[in-house]
């Protein structure tokens, strides 16, 4: 298939300088049309966005404007005045900057260009960073955090004054996160240092390119015209199939163990297979099971974010050298690193989003004119439908990337402190600069002032911290940092990626006396809360090994090798993506449309036709509610298809309402597809008797008072609060000169949250938390859309037993954590035992 390119009229394609033409000719290549178009338009002063699939020569296209400009400029003669960097390349991954340096140095060297290229990441030695400040390279390859660090420095003006181009790679993945918010603020500051600089964004296909086109240019009072767009579509259509299996597809669960023998067969049949999963939990289990089957001793490796960095680097290197036959990976491998010759991508578990699937499949076969080959392995029957929907979507080129979203307030607080570290700031000037960043274009002056106050003294109504202020107002009205230590603290704590409290896991040996050795390899990190539940001797799966928990010494979790067959498994906090709205729509459409169901495997079709006999299948815009008794409980299942997060929120709110209606609910469980609530009273009969009105129960007004009341006690908000507290600088991750000891010296953010809630519920950080939760963990926006959609379209089926469609969620019951209120019940049970033991 040929490249299809948008050809704007009236713009001359650029001509390349001689060394470039010679280089292309020597290689027997032609510069691609989109590369020339991007160059030409950038040279005429436009900010640009290039959207292209992998393998389209995106990176070279992004660097052509700066490389040609540098050739015209020529080498800076020794002894000239200080020259700052010419081009800043920013990528979300450290590994990507290293990869790009290699890929860029090749043409630069071969063309004999006098251009210096260096990277700068958290791993760059201090001496090299110092040298880079004194003698900057022409092109600096770096990450958003490093840009923030450089900008918070007193030398920033000098360092960035000659900046011509900022190249932003993988822009689609950056902009939707808090890192993207921080970067947008950095970009606004870069424009102050170098008003003439131009941006070049590189992105995979997104739902709404205009979001990115605006993101790349100043917004606010006098917005610039959006960045120009070069959109390369096409490439060979990927060859995607759903794994055919003779085994029984499970009703529920996420691990696809049933299909592992077939996955192993595929690995044997291909050169190099990349196996994607959605969570680290799945990665660990799949890897372990593959090795139990691996009779051929094929080199199969594991790669996920909790593993030690050196282990990950080893896997990456082996991959690039084509030494591996398969790698099991999570999203840490999502992005555009060149991974040697992968000829098959296996996706285990449903992809949860059509765009994510397209991205991951793009990892196979990095040449865009050859089709990538991919196999989807659904973990349960609903996922079969979801995979089919995603598969249809990929052929249709449908996109479901999330919108850019409003800039987070905790990130803003971090940035304000950083700007005070750079040089004293005038509040009004800084406000205008900040609102020129597109995520913050709507920030009010009042909110800005609250954030400045928060940075200075915590922003409390009770003003007792003035004497400890971190930033202070000078006589000329500008704000400065109070002392150099504050700036040092800022540098140590910068960044927007907050990990749960984690401990290093170290593998030790028991010596002859039975005591634990001191040395041992670090395997990676595990969340503290998981370890708290373990007692010595418990086993769990980590880094592909079954490990025995030996204890915690200082800040290290000690483990030894175990040979237990039934390990506990790390329950990692992150990594579970909720189903996207787009795919949810598709699954609903599939349920409603008999023609679309014909594409599904027999087992799944049979299941759905029994459902049709016993109950019904909902129409696309209809909400099906089933009620039935089971055991001594009465169940209500709502098939909403809005993703786990929105269902969890709905579950919380509906339980409150059912409680008031006298249904005596006991609990609920949520999956991506449905929500189950159970109680002591017959909910179905109450609906039939008109004692519960479904339209009232599902009315949008639940997002008012019920939501507020629930948020008051929600443990989910605490997790969000923790992130906000760390990012905003309320809590430090690291403090100069202070080491953690075995005793608990850090302060719990849960406690701070409770103090704030009970004493200052309007505090700006609680506001930031609520905003984050509404779009993130609670998915309130999506819940609201659903409630509006189903108004007047609720159908109730009162059944005498569990329906086929309800089986998957019924199997999930009992796997959930204890919510707050039920905690004392667990304690009471334990105390009763003591009483019984005492013979009372």
């Amino acid at each position: 298939m040929d490249l299809v390119e948008t050809k704007p009229s009236g713009i001359q394609a650029a001509t390349l300088p001689t060394p470039f033409l010679k280089w292309f000719a020597e290689k027997g290549w032609q510069p691609r049309a989109h590369q020339l178009e991007l160059l030409g338009r950038a040279q005429s002063g436009e900010n640009m966005l290039l959207i292209a699939p992998t393998g389209a020569g995106k990176t070279l296209a992004g660097f052509l404007p700066s490389l040609t400009d540098l050739v015209h400029r020529g080498k800076i003669p020794p002894g000239s005045a200080f020259t700052g960097i010419h081009t800043l390349y920013i990528s979300p991954l450290k590994a990507l900057t290293v990869d790009i340096e290699r890929n860029l140095m090749k043409p630069v060297t071969e063309m004999g260009l006098e251009v210096t290229v260096e990277n700068r990441t958290g791993d760059t030695p201090q001496s090299k960073r110092q040298r880079q400040k004194l003698n900057p390279p022409d092109i600096l390859l770096t990450t958003p955090e490093q840009v923030a660090l450089l900008l918070a420095n007193k030398e920033a003006t000098r360092f960035f004054k000659d900046l011509k181009y900022v190249v932003l790679d993988e822009l689609h993945s950056l902009v939707t996160s808090k890192r993207g918010h921080l970067l947008s603020l950095g970009l606004a500051r870069l424009r102050k240092h170098a008003p003439e600089m131009q941006t070049i964004g590189l992105s995979a296909t997104v739902a709404d390119p205009m979001d990115l086109q605006r993101w790349l240019v100043p917004q606010g009072e006098n917005p610039s015209p959006p960045a120009g767009l070069v959109h390369v579509t096409g490439g060979a259509a990927p060859d995607i199939t759903i794994l055919g299996t003779d085994s029984r597809i499970p009703w529920s669960g996420h691990v696809s163990t049933y299909a592992i023998p077939e996955v192993y067969e595929e690995i044997r049949r291909h050169k190099t297979t990349l196996i994607f999963v959605n969570t680290r939990f799945q990665a660990e289990l799949l890897f372990q099971t593959l090795w139990t089957l691996n009779e051929d001793n094929l080199p199969i490796a594991l790669h996920h974010g909790s593993l030690d960095a050196s282990q990950r680097r080893k896997v990456e290197a082996a991959m690039a050298d084509n030494k591996l036959r398969a790698v099991v990976a999570t999203s840490t491998l999502d992005m555009g690193i060149d991974w040697g010759d992968i000829d098959l991508v296996v996706h285990v578990g449903a992809p949860k989003g059509a765009s994510r699937l397209a991205q991951r499949i793009g990892r196979a076969n990095h040449r865009m004119d050859e089709p990538s080959k991919a196999i989807l392995v659904p973990a349960n029957r609903f996922e079969v439908m979801e995979c089919q929907a995603a598969l249809d979507a990929n052929y249709l080129g449908a996109q479901d990337t999330p919108p850019v979203g409003e800039g987070a307030l905790d990130v803003l607080a971090q940035h304000v402190l950083g700007m005070a570290c750079a040089e004293p700031f005038d509040p009004l000037e800084l406000y205008h600069e900040i609102t020129s960043a597109s995520p913050y274009a709507d920030l009010s002056w009042e909110m800005f002032e609250r954030i400045v106050d928060f940075v200075a003294t915590g922003g409390y109504a009770l003003r007792t911290y003035e004497r400890y202020a971190k930033i202070r107002r000078q006589e000329d009205g500008r704000w400065r940092v109070s002392n150099p230590q504050i700036a040092q603290q800022y540098r140590m704590n910068l960044g927007t990626i907050v990990e749960a409290a984690e401990l290093n896991v170290r593998l030790v040996r028991r010596n002859a006396k039975g005591t634990l050795g001191r040395g041992g390899m670090t395997l990676g990190k595990v969340e503290e809360y998981f370890l708290e539940q373990l007692v010595q001797g418990d086993t769990f799966l980590f880094a592909g090994k079954v490990l025995r928990f030996e204890g915690i010494r200082e800040n290290v979790c000690l483990v030894s090798n175990a040979h237990s067959l039934d390990p506990k498994i790390p329950a990692y906090a992150g990594g579970k993506f909720p189903l996207t709205t787009y795919l949810a729509d598709q699954v609903r459409a599939m349920l409603a449309d008999p023609d679309r169901r014909t594409t599904l495997p027999d087992q799944v079709r049979d299941w759905l036709s029994i459902q049709l006999e016993r109950s019904m299948l909902p129409k696309q815009d209809e909400l099906l509610i089933e009620t039935f008794p089971r055991g001594k409980r009465f169940f209500m299942i709502a098939y909403c298809f809005e993703g786990r997060l929105a269902h969890q929120t709905l579950g919380m709110l509906l339980t409150r309402r059912l409680e008031r209606a006298g249904a005596r609910p006991l609990g609920f469980v949520a999956t991506d597809y449905s929500l189950a609530i159970w109680g002591l009273n017959d909910i179905g009969a109450m609906i039939d008797a008109g004692r519960i009105s479904l339209s009232d129960l599902f009315d949008e007004d639940m997002l008012g008072d019920d939501l507020e009341a629930w948020l008051d006690e929600s443990y989910m908000l605490k997790r969000t609060f923790r992130n906000c507290a760390v990012i905003s600088g309320l809590i430090e991750r690291r403090h100069p000169g202070r080491e953690k000891t075995g005793r608990q010296v850090t302060v719990s953010t849960d406690l701070i949250y409770d103090v704030l809630r009970s004493h200052e519920p309007d505090h700006v950080l609680l506001e930031a938390t609520r905003r984050d939760a509404a779009s993130g963990l609670l998915d309130i926006g999506r819940l609201g859309d659903m409630l509006a959609r189903i108004k007047g379209h609720i159908t109730h089926r009162d059944l005498d037993r569990v329906s086929p469609l309800a089986v998957p969620i019924m199997l999930e019951i009992g796997k959930e954590q204890v919510p707050g209120e039920a905690q004392d019940a667990v304690l009471a049970e334990a105390a009763e035992e003591l009483i019984a033991e005492a013979g009372l």
Binding site: Y465, H763, E837
Partner: protein, 243 residues
């Protein structure tokens, strides 16, 4: 966490027997109160430990602007437990303030709260590792150690002798696990010889009884954790914590 709920409650029951657990430490009767205080009826003494007052301010002094409301919340609970027992003597068992400058910079309204609570009774501040220099401008006397009514009161548990020792410092907490569910709470920990006090301050964390810092302090066979529940004490034998 429930301690803050307590601080915010307008009415805390003044009934001294509600939800408490009476035990013997070195032969001396002691009442574990779910608010976190230990009452000794024979001497009319109330013991609290690790108040960590002004923890928020201590952090603010180092550039972390924690909410300035922790002291008032802790004092509210303290006032409630004092109202419950009307003790003759109050012993605060060390780490009374989170840092050395805490009592010196204490805001006036909070200082007078403490003065009101101490009126008509004796008040003893045992020095802790966070505040080894005693208190400034507060009622009561400061001391490193107190021996009274057959018991010894000190901040850090001694490694040499355990007979009749009431100590704090370690912020004991216990995890109870039943049917894959686990719950962790601050607790009184006692084997009948020694008793470790839970941390009383609302901004204090906890250290699990299984932590090695606790090793060697108790006879495990007789060790019982008295966990602070919402309205009562839950007593669980050490060996039964994990189910």
């Amino acid at each position: 966490m429930h301690r803050l709920g307590l601080a915010a409650r307008t009415m805390i029951s003044t009934n001294p027997t509600a939800g408490t657990e009476e035990i013997l430490v070195h032969g001396v009767a002691a009442v574990c109160d779910p608010l976190g205080g230990l009452y000794l009826p024979e001497t009319g003494m109330l013991v609290v430990s690790d108040l960590h007052l002004e923890k928020g301010a201590a952090f603010a002094r180092r550039g972390m602007m924690l909410p300035p409301y922790d002291t008032i919340a802790t004092l509210n609970i303290l006032a409630a437990v004092i109202a419950r027992y009307d003790p003759k003597v109050v012993v605060s068992l060390g780490d009374n303030f989170h840092d050395r400058r805490g009592s010196e910079f204490l805001p006036e309204n909070l200082r007078s709260m403490i003065t009101d609570m101490a009126r008509g009774r004796d008040w003893i501040w045992i020095n802790g590792n966070h505040d080894p220099d005693g208190t400034t401008d507060l009622p009561g006397i400061s001391s490193d150690e107190l021996i009274y009514g057959g018991l010894t009161f000190r901040h850090e548990p001694s490694l040499i002798s355990s007979k009749g020792e009431i100590a704090g410092h370690l912020h004991p907490a216990a995890t109870v696990r039943r049917r894959e569910k686990s719950v962790r709470r601050p607790c009184f920990a006692s084997d009948g010889h020694r008793l470790l006090m839970p941390a009383f301050g609302v901004l204090t964390g906890g250290l699990d009884l299984r932590h090695r810092a606790m090793q060697g302090l108790f006879r495990q066979e007789t060790l019982v954790a008295h966990l602070l529940g919402r309205d009562r004490i839950y007593s669980v034998r050490y060996g039964s914590l994990m189910g």
